[in-house]
Each structure stands twice: as structure tokens, then as C-alpha cells.
Amino acid sequence: MIQRTEQRTERCVHVLNRALHQLFEDCPDTYLLGEDIIDPYGGAFKVSHGLSTRWPDRVLTTPISEAAIVGIANGMALRGMRPIVEIMFGDFITLCADQIINYAAKFRQMYNDQTRCPVVIRTPMGGRRGYGPTHSQTMERLFLSVSDLTILAPSHLHELGEALIHVTRHGAGPTLFVENKVMYGEFHAPPQAGRAGLFSCRHLGEAPLDTLYLSLTDFEYSDATILCYGGMAGIAMQAAEQLLLEHEISCELLIPCCIKPLPHDGFAEALERSGRLVVVEEGPLTGGWGAEVAAQVQERYWPQLRGPVTRVAAKDGIIPCARPLEDMVLPQKEDLMLAVIRAVSGAKVGQL
């Protein structure tokens, strides 16, 4: 396979951990609440490691009470603090749905813009670790329709630590900060001097929540645009490389850090060039992020489109424990490649 050039110095989990340390140092109003987050354990995925040793009063390890923890953080945020909640697995965010939807995300508007509730909820999402149906889900899709809630889901290419710091310090409302589980272990690979591996890279929108725009052909030619986020970024890059090498199909990638509200940065240019969009996400197909993306894109960029927006996602249904089953359910590089090939050749599903 292709040799990658990015620096392999630090894993994403460590970047996030550093960001938390930085935040705690710089911003005395920052608190972290969550289950099993204090040292020596330092969190189920170790993101909070070392924090409680330095700031024992600001790292609150909690009972297993997802709803109350978020509620308490909401209250703190209402009073000017900058609380961060860690939900141990994203799957459990169902338990705090009421506090997110009917509390955090409603306060500002229903109180007529007289208050703010800038709570940050960090949580790992995603599968590929064999954790099974209740510990592998990609749940951010459930909150795409919640007004006033921002959803960030950085990839290993983003300045994810900066993003976390930014939103915690400056967020005007509640934020769901999605950390892909596989990404934790990946090397942090922010683009350097306009390059991300074999790709040329542009930064669109404002850092650190910028969208990354990647091309293998220096933004000269594009058969299809791939839109993805979080844990799918690496897979999408591999797919794009292989599509170019093996199929002579040139894809550009758009990788937003913020998935809600959906930033349109780069959409016009990319679609002007390619006329085709393939959205890929790790969550299930129906009712996913890709649905909203497809709806917006076909409505706004209709004249540019040469074919329908297509979606690549997990198969609807549970995420099974057994590895081969899990692999069949979650979207793989091959699924994305096939979708791009179909889109480019204009072939219908089943014809290829």
C-alpha cells in the first residue's frame, strides 16, 4: 500500500487528553463530570487521565446516573460555568435525551434569549471493537433535529483538541462532542503545509471547527465528492486512493468537524466540479445524517448535480458482537468504493 507521510506522533485519545488539561489550566470554570473518570483509572477510554490528580475538585466522578449528571451540568452551565460531561458510551445518551432535548437545548429559546446553557457532552461512538448491540452504536443521528444543539464529530485529521477547547470555552449553547472509538487509537494527523498524506488539503470555514477539503489531483479534476466525518475519514481516504489507483476515479473529500448545523463550505465548488455526492457515515442508513445532507444538497445544488446524492451507511439494525457480522453491518471501504463507482457510472443498485 501507499506510504503515508504525516507525522505519527500522538494518538487522538492523547490529543483529547491534552486538550482537557489545557482547558482546566486556562479556564477555571471548566468541570468534568462522568462515570469512572478519576485517576488512576482515568475514564473507560482514558481520555480524562491525569486530570483529577491535578484538579481533584473539578473532576467529578459520578454514580451511574446519566440523566442526573447531564441535568446537573445543565444547571452549572445556566450559572456561567463551563461543564463537560463524559457519557461513558454514546449508546447511553438515550438516558439523558430528556435533559438534552427538553432542557439544555430549550432554555435559551423558551426563556426568550435571556439565558444560555453551554454544556458540553463528550461521548465515544461507533463500533468495530466487538462490543455488541448496546456499546457500538453511532447515536448522534438521534439529535440532528434538535435546535440549538451543536454536534461536533472531528476526525483524526482535525484539530480535535482545539475544537474541544473552543466549544467548551466559547460555545453559546449545548454541544454534543462525538469521539469515534476507533479514532481514539489512531494517530493524530492534521494536514501539514496543505498536505494530508497523498492529498492536497484546504481548510474551509473557521478553525478549529473547519471543514477539510481533500483532493488527490490538486483540486483539478473530480468525478465524485465524498462527504464524511469522524471515524469514516480514514476509510474514505483509503477508498479515494484506491479508486484513483485502481479505477482511475478521482474523488474529492469534504470532512466537516461540525455535523450540525451542517456547514456548506466547499459544497458549491466540489459539486460544481464533480456533480456527484456520496455521503458516508457509520450510523445506520435510515434517518441518518446522510438523509439531511441529501435533502439539503439536492435542494440547494440541484443544477450542479449529475445524479442523485447517494448514501453509504451501516445497515439498519443492531450491531452484532461477532466480528464478521459486525463487519457486514458497518460500512466498509469496499461499500464506499462500490457506491462511488456506481454513482460515477450512473449504474443502479444491483447492476454492478
Binding site: 446516573s65 441535568g71 446537573i72 444547571g75 450559572r79 430549550k106 429559546q109 423558551m110 426568550n112
Partner: protein, 309 residues
């Protein structure tokens, strides 16, 4: 302080209590009338009969102190803020309402007063507020009002546990009016109310006050204990609402309602106050409410101009 001064102070306080309680009662009665007249839209939950709780508990508070209330919040808000005008305009959907007509009857906010119409979830929010104030060392008092029916919500127990564990200074006021909407307590509550916070090591006092002074006294002790110990405290107040749950039907036993009405803390208090003062207070209340209604009616409906949020 001389004995006379004490008596005078007490008299003034009783008058003050009466002023507040009567205002709430008259306000709620007027709101229900406005509903029947078709001048209001949506729904409302009147506080009639429970006024002594709000007044007794919140008279210990200043504007820097914090209250989180629920669907039945008008009494708490008036006892806390005396803002008849803002509240009425809000309920009437006017731009000059304290939430610009967006919140309406159950979602009000002003200063340090919060409400939400979804039961249960207010309790962790309020507790988070108290935690924030603890960290800030602001010494602000924090109270949250919970109905007996709301004790069905699990989040409350999650919060009891956390408040006790983390020594969060907050007053949980459980207003035990024996009903949750149409449901009598025996169909919705097992065991004893006080045992619940106690199971989480929260100091709890359960009483059936006959008067606002009694509420004021137990609440005073509660606030003092919180101040002293820096821990949560729970006050369970037996009470009764004389009005239907919201605007609608009321199937409670008439004799039961009457029995409670005969113990009405407002009426009891009225008898302790000299008649002239009383009439003056009542007249003033009616006047303020009437003026608030006129002002609201004259004001623009929220939405007459474009919304922005």
C-alpha cells in the same frame, strides 16, 4: 429588640405574608376567569390553596437567591418576585411578558427564577445550579419545588443520591397535595414520602402546616440547617389545591375539598389581620391585577413583529 418591636415586626410580617398570599390567590382566580372568558390560550395550573408554601419558604430569600419551579409555578414566581405584570403578560402571550410570550404559563424565567413544564428534570438542573453556587461560594440559597406526583420520576432519586454524596446545599420542597393531576396518591405512591430522601441520607422534615407562619418557621430551620451543614435538605409540606389540576374537570371528593378548605391558611391568616389593613391589602391586590390585565391587553401580542432567536 423590645417586646413591642418584636410584635410589630411580627405584625408587619403577617401583613406581608397576607399581601403575598392574597395576591397569589387573586391572581390565580383572575387567570382562571380569563381562561373561561376565552382570553387565554393553552393551559394553566393554578396554585390556589397552596400559597402558604411558596410564601413561607421563599420569604427567606432575596433576589440573589435561586428558585427552580415546575408546571404549577405562578405562586412561586409571585412570592419570589412580586412581578404580577410580567407574569400576566407572559400568560396572555404578550411581547411584554417576561419571556416575550414564548414560555407562557409553565416556562418562565426572570432573574434567578426558572421553570420547566417537563416533570422531574428540573431537580437535577436545580441541583447543578446549587453546585455551581457552591463552587462560586456565592452563598446563594437554592430551592426547587417538587409535586408529590413528580416523585414518580427516577431522575429525582439519581439527584438525591448525588446531592447527598456531594454535599450540595439545596432545599428540596415537596409540595404534597395528595394528587397528581387526576390520580390520588394511593394509586401512584408506595411507602412514605419522607423515607425517600431519607434513604439517600438527606435530612427530611415532613409536616402538615396549618399556617404560613408554620411554613415560615420550618423553612427557616431548613435554610439554617443547609447554611450550617452545607448539605441538601428536604421539606415535605402537606397541602391541598382548591382548584382543578389545570382548567378542567375535578373529580375529587367534595367533602375532602371542603375539609381542606376549612383549614385554608389564607383564611386563617385573614382572621389574624385587622380588617382595615386586610381590606386595603385586598383592594390593592385586585387593583394591581386589574391594571396588569389592562396593560397586557393593551400590549402587542408576541409575534406581531418578526421572531428572532
Amino acid at each position: 429588640m423590645t417586646a413591642l418591636a418584636t410584635i410589630e415586626l411580627a405584625t408587619t410580617r403577617l401583613e406581608q405574608f397576607y399581601r403575598q398570599m392574597f395576591l397569589i390567590r387573586a391572581f390565580e382566580e383572575r387567570v382562571l376567569e380569563l381562561f373561561s372568558e376565552g382570553q387565554l390560550f393553552g393551559t394553566t395550573h393554578a396554585y390556589i390553596g397552596q400559597e402558604a408554601n411558596a410564601v413561607g419558604v421563599l420569604s427567606h430569600l432575596g433576589p440573589e437567591d435561586i428558585v427552580f419551579s415546575n408546571h404549577r409555578c405562578h405562586g412561586h414566581y409571585l412570592a419570589y418576585s412580586d412581578d404580577v405584570e410580567g407574569l400576566l403578560a407572559e400568560i396572555m402571550g404578550r411581547e411584554i411578558g417576561m419571556c416575550g410570550g414564548k414560555g407562557g404559563s409553565q416556562h418562565i424565567f426572570a432573574g434567578n427564577f426558572y421553570t420547566n413544564g417537563v416533570l422531574g428534570g428540573i431537580v437535577p438542573c436545580a441541583t447543578g445550579i446549587a453546585l455551581a453556587e457552591k463552587y462560586k461560594a456565592s452563598r446563594a440559597k437554592v430551592a426547587v419545588f417538587i409535586g408529590d406526583g413528580s416523585l414518580g420520576e427516577g431522575t429525582i432519586y439519581e439527584t438525591f443520591n448525588l446531592a447527598a454524596l456531594w454535599s450540595i446545599p439545596i432545599l428540596f420542597v415537596i409540595e404534597n397535595n395528595f394528587y397528581a393531576q387526576s390520580t390520588p396518591q394511593r394509586l401512584q405512591l408506595s411507602g412514605q414520602i419522607a423515607a425517600r430522601p431519607q434513604a439517600f441520607d438527606i435530612e427530611t422534615v415532613h409536616c402538615r402546616p396549618d399556617s404560613v407562619e408554620e411554613v415560615y418557621a420550618v423553612a427557616g430551620d431548613a435554610w439554617a440547617t443547609i447554611e450550617e451543614q452545607g448539605k441538601p435538605f428536604c421539606l415535605v409540606l402537606d397541602t391541598y389545591r382548591f382548584c382543578p389540576h389545570s382548567k378542567g374537570d375535578d373529580y375529587r371528593d367534595v367533602a375532602e375539598i371542603e375539609a381542606w378548605r376549612s383549614r385554608d391558611p389564607l383564611r386563617r391568616l385573614a382572621n389574624q389581620i385587622d380588617i382595615d389593613t386586610r381590606l386595603r391589602i385586598e383592594e390593592q391586590a385586585h387593583l394591581r391585577i386589574a391594571q396588569a390585565v389592562s396593560t397586557a391587553q393593551a400590549a402587542a401580542f408576541a409575534g406581531a413583529r418578526a421572531i428572532s432567536w
